[in-house]
Symmetry: C2
DNA sequence: CAAAAACGTGGTCATTTGACCAATGTTTAC
DNA sequence: GTAAACATTGGTCAAATGACCACGTTTTTG
């Protein structure tokens, strides 16, 4: 499990194996069952989360109980509730497993000191953060301007590998449309 | 004009006046007429933009010509097209003046070297970036989960001072609803 | 392997929303 | 100061959407 992470970091940063093993050694490994929660909204998100295998979702629950997905995090990706992690405030999102998953967790203090120690890691980390900023910006644009069909097509284009792994109601709640609308437009596309 | 910026930076960072004057001296000042464009989608956004007075909007134009506002930037705030600024790629948004405005512009190279030179500026800059990340995250949540009325109420709560300064169609295009829906719900609220 | 839960699809219906058009009042620009 | 452009509100209508319900199938789970 840790070796997959180490391989990933080496390929992404070119860091020496010894440093990567050090980073890896500070992580806490955890196995999640399907639907198990890792972070609960309202609590503080105290860890950086790296998904080694499986699939997590980062989602908020509205007052009326409806769920809204902020992010899907498949294997070899990162997730957390940034605002909570940075400031120790209550998280606005839940983070849970869609599939049985393996994750690595770092406490903020540990991760911060690693960022100090390894400039290559810091550089990479900032890349990840930047990508996330761009992604959210584009997502706001899409949410504002696209029709349900365009949103779905963009999702398929962006995450083709996730299509078969997610129940449709989660895709709908990621796109901000109802399940009904989603099945309708899928049906319409079949007829073309 | 520059003094307003210097005052702002000193109050936000506690930097010494001499450093702030240096920063200020590297900026290019510009006056914008109402509706004048500062950054055009498709071109590269080459500057950090600080709004000294007036009001800018950062917005995308969809294929069908409809406009969608990503951000309003009133006096004493920052704006740019991040992805374009960072990577030199074409901007996805236009940035233009809603009111006659005064802005300060820094070239990326200059701003980067200032970040190196002044740790307090770097720290503050990262705060601004963080706030922006949190803001976009919340915005995605709202866009996904809130009703038009809730979106409007959240806007009023978040930016009470902007209400009277913006035409309603811009607020609608910020909220991702039609002008018609916006006037409808405002009318409904009047009756309560 | 069997029972239970979750999933995808479909139907109906009421409601919301947007597109289009018009009228009036206000602001801008020359 | 005046003409032109813009803003706000309103009406009507068609279309899109979501809520609710049901059914058959697949997937989990014990």
């Amino acid at each position: 499990m840790r070796d997959k992470f180490e391989e990933y970091i080496i390929s992404q940063t070119g860091m020496p194996a010894a440093s990567v093993e050090h980073i890896s050694s500070l992580a806490c490994a955890k196995t999640l069952k399907r639907n198990e929660l890792l972070v609960r909204a309202g609590e503080v998100c105290r860890n950086k989360i790296f998904v080694v295998s499986g699939l997590l979702r980062n989602y908020g629950v509205a007052a009326n109980g409806s769920e809204h997905v902020l992010q899907f995090a498949p294997e070899l990706s990162w997730t957390l509730d940034v605002e909570s992690y940075d400031n120790g405030t209550p998280a606005i999102s839940n983070i849970g497993a869609v599939e049985p998953s393996e994750v690595l967790l770092w406490a903020k203090a540990d991760f911060d000191s690693m960022l100090q120690e390894y400039p290559l890691l810091k550089h990479f980390s900032q890349q990840v953060i930047s990508r996330n900023i761009y992604y959210n910006r584009r997502r706001v644009m899409t949410a504002l301007s696209a029709s349900p069909e365009e949103k779905y097509e963009e999702f398929v284009r962006s995450f083709p590998k996730l299509l078969g792994r997610l129940p449709l109601h989660m895709i709908a709640s990621y796109l901000g449309i109802s399940l009904k609308t989603l099945t309708r437009l899928r049906h319409a596309q079949l007829l073309r």
